[in-house]
Symmetry: D3
Subunit: 113 residues, 6 copies
């Protein structure tokens, strides 16, 4: 499973890079929007990535969970902080959020720090 | 394919167990909520699992479909009953519900009874 | 509030009638699909309308909740049966399903039987 | 009803203007993204607004339907063109798309051209 | 508009109270789940309510936005903090999140502190 | 990856065929609805399949993206046309639409023409 997940992280990045190459204008604009949304401010980038993870869980977007969990871990999020955001996602999403919350935890364990 | 799906059922369970171990409080609360929602009452547990399956189909939550179809089968749901709930999900979800309804049928065939 | 909801039921029907008049082909096809999905079979029409209500709650589709709750009531659903389907929707949808489940109950009380 | 919808169009615009004033950075970035996405290209702006309408219908976002239908009408979309996009939304969204498709038609009739 | 929103806050509360009275078991369980998810911990209750607001925006659940924005304000959230969470919701939800983000801001202004 | 995707296309078709065999009535009705929605009219079938693709992206329905991208390519859609519809989906869906838009591009490259 661990190998599969690492390959999955890699496949996501390759796919996003291919889209960015084919559609530089819209992906460039989205990149700027994303930077603005996730920049350190009154709220830290770490908390913003955890919030994005909680939204991704509640939307059932698997690759988005993988992507934002990785970023949150790189910004120093502990596993216990992640779990508190997973709990909010479960409050707002029920059973499907349990399922994707479990994936978030799995991706957290496997992501490089 | 059959082997892959059995492995998938197993992976879902392992992932949920890992989340339950890491987040016993919120998963414990969710477990109680889930038991209350799916208990036999005026409506049978079987029909409730089939309803949860129909909701999972309409939300496009793959693992949730696998989970609730298994439970419905264990509670005695026939394939033809499942199909009637898939039809309601299609009425309420269009094309994406056709796609996940097809997965529900596949998971039903492969699930242990 | 009661008057507003009755007006809302009426507005939904008028809007759907206007769409059916303007787009008879696609709405005619959808009508046949809907009849097939909700017909009495192994599962009763009443249970199918309650299932459609639970899906509508989990999707947060207000007018759909109003429409299918009315149909379920006309087919003899009691309030306590409705509540058991609301509970499944809450299991599968968390907080937003609580909010739309509360609307389902309100629409049930106000709908004609 | 007509008056209510005109007031609704106005309320949407006021609300968006208030957000833009309070959050100029993120709304400015979103505005650029939106312009890039909806600019005339291989596909006309009119078709892009109709596509945005179809997505809004399939997401059940009422104000988004109102906003993009208005834009499509201003760009010359006929009612019959709109209806063909509503049909695709119904294929991809089932009953909830019927409900929001009916709203799209109502908003089209009431929007200024 | 201000009066309408205050009436809307009140209507939401009455509707939830009616559901709680009719379905004490499932709503009681959900209440415990919600308390567990939103309790002060490594992450503050305030940040958790803002996260719930961001999820509600990204789901397009109007009443949920109203409910969680009120709670966040009562817990001391400033308008500028709210806006940073709205920005994350826009990153994860595009146009529909702009529309519901604008509602979040409106509800914030009108909510009692 | 290429082989995996071709196998995935095949698995989707087999699954849909199995559902159609088990549930001929509802799938037959859905087939007619789908034909009505995607027929050449004021708007071309090609544009309708690209619109269905954009909706599938915004819903995060992976198999639906694969299915409708294939159809759009068979009807003559170029990669650059696809990208303009992906851009509208990103405007209406944010980050998750970027992720599924990247999948749409991958499926386009691998689909037979």
């Amino acid at each position: 499973m661990e190998k599969t997940t690492q390959e999955n992280f890699k496949a996501i990045k390759l796919r996003l890079a291919a889209l960015a190459a084919a559609a530089p204008s819209i992906i460039g604009q989205f990149g700027k929007l994303s930077q603005t949304a996730s920049a350190d401010g009154l709220v830290s980038s770490k908390v913003k990535e955890l919030t994005a993870t909680a939204i991704a869980i509640s939307k059932g977007c698997d690759d988005c969970v993988a992507y934002h969990v990785q970023k949150a871990k790189q910004l120093g999020s502990t596993k216990d902080e992640l779990i508190e955001f997973v709990a909010v996602a479960i409050e707002m999403g029920g059973g499907p959020a349990v399922v994707y919350g479990a994936k978030a935890l799995e991706y957290y364990e496997l992501a490089g720090s």
